[in-house]
Amino acid sequence: MTTETIIWLLPLPPLLAFFLIVLFTNRHKAFSHSLAVGAAGLSWLGSMLVFVRALGVPEFGKEVFESAINWLPTGETWLKIGVLIDPLSAATLFFVAWTVLMIFVYSIGYHNFGQPAGNHDRPGLPPHGATIQDEKGHKHSVPSIEPMYSRFFAFIGLFAFGMYTLVVSNNLLTFFIGWEIMGLCSYLLIGFWYGKESARDAAVKAFMTTRVGDVFMLLGIAFLYSATGTLSFREIFRPEMLHALATTATPFFGLSAAGFIGLLLFIGTVGKSAQWPLHVWLPDAMEGPTPVSAMIHAATMVSAGVYAVLRMFPLITADFSGHALTPTMSIIAFIGAFTALFAATIAVAQNDIKRVLAYSTISQLGYMIAALGIGAYVAAAFHLIAHAFFKALLFLGSGSVIHGVEHGALHTGEHLDANDMFNMGGLRKKMPITFWTFLIGGFALSGFPLLTAGFWSKDEILADAFGHGHWAVFATLAVAAFLTAFYTMRQVTLTFLGEPRTQAAEHAQETPWTMTLPLVVLALFAVGYGWVGIPEDFPLIGGLLPNWFHEFVGGTLAERPESLPFNFLPLLTSLVVALGGLLVGWLVYRKVKSPQQDRLQIPLLKNKYYFDEAYDFLFVRPAYWVSETFTYMFMDRAIIDGILHTFGRVALWLGSFLRNYFDKPVINEFIGDGTGNIVKKAGSSLRRIQVGRIQSYMLASFIVVVLFAVLYYFLIGGV
């Protein structure tokens, strides 16, 4: 089978799994998860095959795997759609395949496959545990299986289809289709437990916010199509096309066509990757089950936003000459750096284990965006993939922690919030595998030197910022890195270190192999992945391994970006912020036992700078006002219904007018009854001729005869 055929088929298994589960196997839980995991496995196999083959192609980047078909006739030409695997998408395919498969396997254990159905579980709410009796008649509570088990696998199957479509597509149209399918699945999966009002609201919020971004992205795509007549990446990125776009001016803010389109497309990423100001949906999206948070909101969907900017990098940098940043790139860099710091400051005040990770995701995505804004293509791609691995690991780990604490809560019968870190503590002894893998992930996130992938990727970004002289970006990202390490260590300390603070944490248990195996696999990647991107001039170990990543992914661009010469300052900075942040976090939080002792619980940070309230005031309430008062009350009921009612009243008035003034008097009485009366009167008067007396009849007839005779004689004349 040719590589192109495999690439075409990659999105197919998860889609088939979705349809089959929805139509046929919804009631059979084992069948459903087998279908889903099997499909993910098939796609994983195909992706690995493609990746290996891509590795084998020399000068991959000039040579790509591409295949297109004519799809939509547009006058003389055809709009083509197809698949493309170049170095960037090959690397993306690699991590997408792995993380998707791991998360699918994890979901089996997360949703408690094999456990009995709950006591009063109903579809739409999280499962609450079942009571079982053992041989001695003792009753105890155990976790119960998710009632909507198959539905979950169907949805994540559809989601996987969307992500694969986005990664393998060679044109903006199918890219956008995959983008939107993932947006839909995000809505469906955040609102998976639709019985909870908070979940429903979060789903709508996510969809609405990303929609704002998507509208601008669609405008960008439309502008691009009208400017170039094509949506295919390879055609847009031809040098002459890019040059034409870079030199065409638009009436918007003095941007060139390339810059303006890039800006519009970037706004789509702002929505999808939860950058400021469209970041508000991601923390609320933690209402969904943890595999959802891991997959959609850590590893794949939000990564798709960064992938979009990576893809369109040639367009965004079309008028970049390597010195001063273009306006578009400045905006991108600003938003990225600002978000990185902004989200990190909020993360330090969150108590929910998943919220911390959510803000962490926003912050790390900001890193990548900032890197792209300053032109560090390879560094951004490197960090994207590393982040996908360790963030997925962290989320799955947090899910494991929550499950363990819930298990403990079922034992003790406590009702507590299993997500709250202040209800945990000491879990390193109770859940060792989770602890060690979570620690590896946390260190990777903080950028623990040498051993973790996060160090290598973050260091690259800082080096690039420093090397090209973007001091503001460098400083912001450095502070954000410090805060990242700080809150990560805070999280690890509160959750795993110290002594259990609640009975539930005391009785927590390690989770089954379906959940811990993915953790281990992802931890391996979180450690080993960094070593494929060690810069050549790194002291001591620089030349041991080639900077394969730089060579491979850098080949995507028309001109391979040059590696920067090594500088000590960024390295030192990243070492200081990483290790310093970890140390400070551990020192402060090993003594903090309750939220009251935590001095960072500042209301401003806890309430996320009141952005939600601001948006509610600025956008949501006016929207409600427009729809309820303006459109509904005023336009619809008063004006439109008023017009219709007026028509009704006029018709009614006209009808009764005609009835009372024309129909009744004229037609009924005058014509109808009138003729009747005339006939009656005529009849009653004429009937008196019928006297029954024959002599009267004869008299009458003779009179007439005489008259006729006279008339005849005088008129006609003669006899």
Binding site: R688, Q690, V691, G692, R693, I694, Q695, L699
Partner: protein, 103 residues
């Protein structure tokens, strides 16, 4: 000069008129039939006068008069039979009282 034809004709006209008056003005049904007889006789006089004065050689006039005799006889017989029948039913021969065909 003998009797002009016009005398006969005026006589028959007068007789006819008198008979007409009897038919129209008498109460008793039998009296009405008497009037009818007068009228028939007037007609007969007319016929015979014309026969004699115009074509005495042809018998058409007399034959016609004979037929009129027969018809008059038949009519009187049936009419009187009817009147007797009505008299038996309604105990009256006043024409004005036999008005069942009234509205």
């Amino acid at each position: 000069m003998s009797i002009p034809l016009s005398w006969y004709l005026i006589l028959s006209a007068a007789l006819f008129s008198i008979g007409l008056f009897g038919v129209l003005a008498r109460k008793n049904a039998i009296a009405i039939l008497l009037g009818v007889e007068l009228m028939l006789n007037a007609v007969n006089v007319n016929l015979v006068a014309f026969w004699r004065y115009l074509e005495p050689a042809k018998m058409a006039g007399q034959v016609f008069a004979i037929i009129v005799f027969a018809v008059a006889a038949a009519e009187v017989a049936v009419g009187l039979a009817l009147i007797i029948s009505v008299y038996r039913r309604r105990k009256t021969v006043i024409a004005d009282e036999i008005d069942l065909m009234k509205w």
